[in-house]
Amino acid sequence: MTDDTRAAAGTGTTGTGTAAGQQISDTFTGSEGASAALKPKDQKGTTVKGIQAAAIPAFVAGQELADLGDTDPRIVVLTADLAGAGRTADFRDRHPDRFFNMGVAEQNMISVAAGMAASGLRPYLSTFAAYVALLGCEQIRTDLAYPGLPVRILAHHSGMSLGYYGTSHHSLEDLSAMRAIADLTVVCAADANQLRAILRASLDLAGPLYIRLGRGRDPEVYPEVPASFAFGRAVRLTEGRDLTLITTGSQVRPCLDAAALLAEQDGLAVRVVDMHTISPINADEAIAAASETAAVMTVEEHNVTGGLGSAVAEVLLEAGAAVPFRRHGVPDEHVVLGPPAALYAHYELDAAGIAARARRFLAP
């Protein structure tokens, strides 16, 4: 990425952002002006543009890490010049001796974290998904997964959530690349509370973990931190027999909303499954959807090649499932230019679009 990019995103480490940052702060996370109002451990009631800070994944990441760091001295945090956007600045402020800004050098950051983990630390590294998963793919495989080291990657601004920044900043291939790596757990956070659960569960996870995050303001799915969270165990959020939507991360909320639309307008009973862990995939839950509901559609903010849809398809075909099946995601093309909300609408990845795609699938 480039410096002007960061300035435009309002993710600089000082000040309240440029005019450009103000202009798009509704769209992107990381207005430093908002963070300045937040004191560590004093976020209750704090709102950012009308949203409770405690419900914003971007804010939760640094806060939760700082809390975990209070009791676990092994935790260190690294970023690649995105302490503002990833909110790891909250950790930095409370644990400055365990925070390392590695500059705009993602590959080095991953391998440095590997060396730290090999020496007994528990590194969490945080940066844009595109640069950690795609630029750093080989370092993740060779230095984290192959040695089985407990490094946790917070890959924020995944998918096309950076909107009109364009393909250079999009990460629509990361699930495909990450799930092909042996001994790497791959999980997507749907909202702030699930992210807290993931981070807490990560303390006991052997081996490396890739945590896919959205743009940081993903609307709520889980009203409380899910106590029953476990890697590899999907969550059935709604029940229904006409269709199952198997989804993950940023698409869980719109799928729930789409299910409500389909119930209200079409009388359809839709099961929604949060397949938060992409690797290892919860095969039994996918097979249950195929055997217990009339159709299965996967929904993901990712290229339809190689991600959640491909993972579920592999499971179903090998299980001999004879259920009507569709993958829904970003088509295998470089996406058109536009703000995030417009892109989600264009690719039918908002609630209305998902409902429309489901209708065409069920009644072509």
Binding site: V76, D97, R98, F100, M102, G103, A105, Q107, N108, I110, S111, V112, A113, A114, G115, M116, A117, A118, S119, G120, L121, P123, E138, Q139, T142, D143, Y146, P147, G148
Partner: protein, 309 residues
């Protein structure tokens, strides 16, 4: 001495009887490295002779004179770390690790065979004494920096050493790590470049020039020494010259070496980057190794004498 941790006692001074005794030991161990590299290559059917021979004196000096470790406790938290960033020279490191007691030397008889722990590139999960897996060039300076910063966080006294290849310096990640090490003043990080003058396709300076290395690392805020990497006195002096400031500059030793050193037909000859000796050649080479280092004659692809200007 090999089975006990060094205590960090000063290295014997140049010119003393103790120094001569130590160098006699190191000379024998460098021969062990070369001899075992030849033997293990025969088991595998091919091996990286030349990039290992250039590092033989460095391996010997590190493991028999400089590093602090406990072979019976490979995960001793305060041990000095060592990362072989040029992982393809592991064939010469394994025999050293076995010799000092990390594992039974007989395990090497299965080198590279199905289910062996020992491949062309080292695996930290399978081999006691390997502090980090390597093989993908350009990663080792970063992982070693991570170990150095971990020592700082944990308040541990160890140093972290890494050997880099000169061809490897073309990898951009090396310079990301060099910049970060300078920025964080990673004093306990000691990097050694095995400056053996050749990469796979030919002399580095014709394939992709890496010089002037001293100036480059100084510009990245490192403390730099440049030595003859086959001269034990020079290597030991360089070790003795390392500073002990945990917040001082990271430390670079550029070891000018000769790729293939110790076997005349291989010296500075790109044809031997990977090879396999057969028949009488095998016995000839073993005899040459036992005879010890002779003056370098001009190789097919490089300049004699370890110079690089």
């Amino acid at each position: 001495m090999a089975t006990e941790a060094r205590t960090g006692a000063p290295l014997p001074a140049r010119g003393t009887a103790e120094r001569a005794q130590l160098i006699s030991l190191l000379t024998a161990k460098a021969k062990l490295v070369r001899r075992e590299t030849v033997r293990l290559t025969r088991i595998a059917g091919a091996g990286h002779y030349t990039g290992t021979f250039s590092a033989a004196e460095l391996f010997a000096a590190l493991y028999y004179a400089q590093l602090r470790y406990r072979p019976g406790q490979p995960d001793w938290p305060d041990r000095d770390r060592f990362v072989l960033s040029k992982g393809h020279a592991a064939i010469g490191l394994y025999p050293v690790l076995a010799d000092v007691g990390f594992f039974d030397p007989a395990l090497l008889d299965n080198y590279t065979r199905l289910h062996s722990r020992f491949g062309d590139h080292p695996d930290m999960r399978k081999i006691p004494g390997i502090d980090f897996s390597s093989g993908s060039l350009g990663h080792g300076l970063s992982t070693t920096l991570g170990m150095t910063l971990a020592a700082r966080v944990q308040g541990r006294p160890y140093r972290s050493y890494v050997i880099l290849g000169d061809g490897e310096l073309c990898e951009g990640q090396v310079w990301e790590a060099a910049m970060a090490a300078g920025h964080y003043r990673a004093g306990p990080l000691v990097a050694i470049v095995d400056r053996n003058q050749l990469s796979i396709d030919g002399p580095t300076e014709s394939i992709m020039g890496v010089e002037p290395l001293d100036e480059k690392f100084r510009a990245f805020r490192w403390q730099v020494q440049r030595i003859d990497g086959h001269d034990f006195d020079a290597i030991l002096d360089a070790f003795a010259g390392l500073h002990a400031d945990p917040h001082g500059p990271p430390q670079m030793i550029i070891a000018d070496t000769v790729k293939g050193r110790g076997v005349q037909r291989m010296e500075l000859d790109t044809n031997w980057h990977v090879g396999n000796l057969v028949g009488a050649d095998y016995d000839d080479v073993l005899a040459e190794i036992e005879a010890g280092l002779q003056p370098v004659t001009a190789g097919r692809d490089g300049q004699a004498g370890g110079g690089n200007d």
